[in-house]
């Protein structure tokens, strides 16, 4: 092998190894930085709902409330985004006029180009006031269901999990749509034509060929969306109101903080290393969580591709 070749090959292989090592490094560094704070923690890290890190000599922090709010907000977003994304993906692959399918897809992708802080500001300053009547109505008519019960920030503030979930859903649309679209596009033409030949309507064609074929891809895409939702930071930090002394209680009209938004909202406490350690510990849990979700999503998508 010529020297130029050897150098070039080693360089590019090294870059590949570096990326692999990067993931491990993230985990290791976060863990090492989190240990001192975890040692100084005066309450149980996993089961406590208290988050008081202002006084470095008396650290009291637990992630239970953060975990619940993070997962709940993401699920609310996913429940809204999943059917709509499915509809858009079907629209783009099966319904949109062929010449317009590409520009339409581009328009949906544009949603992904909007910076998340703009979504956050739009959500709290523009969308939230418009959503107040909707929340009011849900609370009045369906309030007997705990989910729509009067939460800890409703009705005084609009920074609820409901508002956050709706904005987050908009942010998830392009992610779930683009991957589902890719999968649906690959439905074998023979299947579609076969169904058509049997006299199926367009919806029946979709139900009997496109959906079964693309199901795994759609589920994988939705999980990628979930991973994104779990980690979304600034939009949620801007929207979600953190009520003092009230914990999350399963109402969509609750406020609260997710892992990411809690860290972003309290960046001022990063001036002392012990308090920072508490947030790094929370970040580590978020990292593990998103890693697991992305890992599962990629495995589902990868399996399907291997067929």
């Amino acid at each position: 092998m010529r020297p130029g070749d050897r150098i070039f090959k080693n360089l590019s292989t090294g870059a590949g190894i570096f990326v692999v090592a990067l993931i491990a490094l993230i985990g290791i560094f976060l863990l090492v930085q989190a240990i001192p704070a975890l040692g100084a923690n005066e309450v149980n890290f996993l089961t406590s709902r208290i988050w008081e890190t202002g006084d470095p000599t008396h650290l009291r922090f637990g992630i239970l409330d953060l975990l619940l709010v993070t997962i709940y907000t993401s699920l609310v977003a996913l429940i809204i985004a999943m059917p709509i994304s499915l509809g858009i993906a079907l629209f783009l692959t099966q319904y949109a006029p062929r010449r317009l399918a590409r520009p339409f897809a581009y328009v949906v992708d544009l949603l992904a180009a909007v910076p998340s802080i703009i979504f956050g500001l739009w959500g709290i300053l523009v969308l939230a006031p418009k959503m107040a009547p909707v929340s009011q109505w849900l609370n009045e008519t369906l309030g007997f269901i705990p989910i729509f019960g009067t939460g800890n920030v409703f009705p005084n503030y609009s920074g609820t999990i409901f508002t956050a979930g709706v904005v987050l859903a908009v942010m998830l649309l392009p992610i779930i749509t683009s991957l589902s679209r890719e999968v649906f596009e690959r439905t074998p033409t023979a299947h579609i034509e076969g169904a058509l030949a049997l006299g199926a309507t367009r919806w029946e064609v979709i139900r009997t060929t496109v959906l079964p074929f693309g199901k795994a891809g759609y589920v994988g895409a939705s999980m990628l969306g979930l991973g994104r939702a779990l980690g979304e930071t600034i939009a949620l930090a801007v929207i979600l109101y953190i009520p003092r002394g009230h914990f999350f209680d399963w109402s969509v009209f609750d406020g609260g903080a997710t892992f990411a938004s809690q860290i972003a909202a309290n960046y001022a406490e990063f001036n002392n290393p012990t308090s920072a350690g508490a947030y790094i510990a929370a970040g580590l849990v978020l990292f593990v969580l998103t890693f697991a979700v992305n890992f599962a999503a990629r495995t589902i998508i990868g399996e399907r591709k291997a067929d």
Partner: protein, 308 residues
């Protein structure tokens, strides 16, 4: 049309054909409506967000001092001043991030396509790149904080932000570059080898230039994306209302950080100074992102391989 069918055509149509039942027709119509509706639902917030940004942001943009001054000399509730300091920070941090992540990402893509094809390491690398693209930006920020600030003891700075953005930009660069390198026909590589050109020279002189136009647009999209990131800014650099060209020390503003700072410190009443500043900065950011995308399109057209 059916009424004008001639006798022969009517005979030619299959006699056993039955009309689609009303129930099936209704279901089909309902599905069609729902599918169209979901597309419109996705377009509505996009239009709404863009309208909000433009309608509220347009107030300050047309004045020259918006583009040529900072907020250092004006009070937080005083009309006037501009976002030059934030534009400088956004561009500096973004460019520094690109300087690091583009070569790295390109090398990874070259490894995956040219050297590692189907090896186990290549599969692991591809998987890890995918995982990296799912790492939340706040986690990337915490990692750089733990590495750069706690472990190395270096100050919070614009450069630390660039490092965190590198983590977010690498997977995007790798994926788009990989895709572009893969569609370079093997005939080109083989023709080059047949002439005795070494592999690395083939990659540098044949493969990369062929894929260049696609790679450039991928890089620009990634750059536009990281420029809008906010989370790393909160943890890794402080806001300054003054112009600061120094990427390696002191506080430095950027457009997203400016928006977040104004939100936290100023009144958000519609029409107030803080409100106008936020949407002005948002519009400025959107304009910069749109410009970068435009440049990407033009440049990638210019370097695209000539078609006969």
């Amino acid at each position: 049309m059916t009424s004008t069918l001639s006798e022969t055509e009517r005979l030619a149509s299959p006699p056993a054909f039955q009309q689609v039942s009303a129930g099936r027709k209704a279901k089909n119509a309902l599905a069609t409506v729902l599918v169209w509706l979901s597309f419109l639902i996705a377009v509505a917030p996009l239009v709404w967000v863009l309208y909000t940004v433009i309608a509220n942001g347009i107030k300050r943009i047309p004045y020259t001092n918006w583009w040529s001054q900072d907020f250092g000399s004006v009070l937080s509730d005083e009309v006037g001043g501009g976002v030059l300091h934030a534009i400088i920070g956004t561009l500096e941090q973004g460019l520094m991030c690109a300087v690091i992540s583009v070569p790295l990402g390109l090398l990874v893509a070259i490894y995956l396509v040219e050297y590692g094809r189907d090896t186990r390491l290549a599969k692991v690398t591809t998987f890890m790149v995918d995982i990296l693209s799912g790492v939340p930006s706040i986690v990337a920020a915490l990692f750089i904080y733990a590495l750069w600030i706690t472990t190395f003891g270096l100050p919070r700075s614009g450069f630390a932000v660039s490092l965190a953005l590198v983590l977010l930009m690498i997977p995007v660069v790798v994926r788009s570059a990989e895709e572009m390198l893969r569609i370079v026909p093997d005939d080109l590589r083989e023709a080059s080898y047949a002439l005795g050109v070494p592999k690395w020279k083939t990659i540098m002189k044949i493969v990369l230039p062929t894929a260049m136009s696609g790679i450039i647009s991928g890089v620009m999209m990634a750059l536009a994306r990281v420029m809008g990131e906010t989370a790393p800014l909160l943890v890794l650099v402080g806001y300054s209302a003054y112009v600061n060209w120094d990427l390696f020390g002191d506080n430095q503003a950027s457009l997203p950080l400016l928006m977040n700072t104004e939100r936290a410190t100023n009144s958000m009443e519609p029409g107030s100074v803080g409100f106008d500043r936020i949407w002005g900065a948002a519009l400025t950011l959107v304009i910069i992102i749109a410009l970068i995308n435009l440049i990407a399109t033009v440049v990638s057209r210019l370097v695209a391989p000539k078609k006969k």
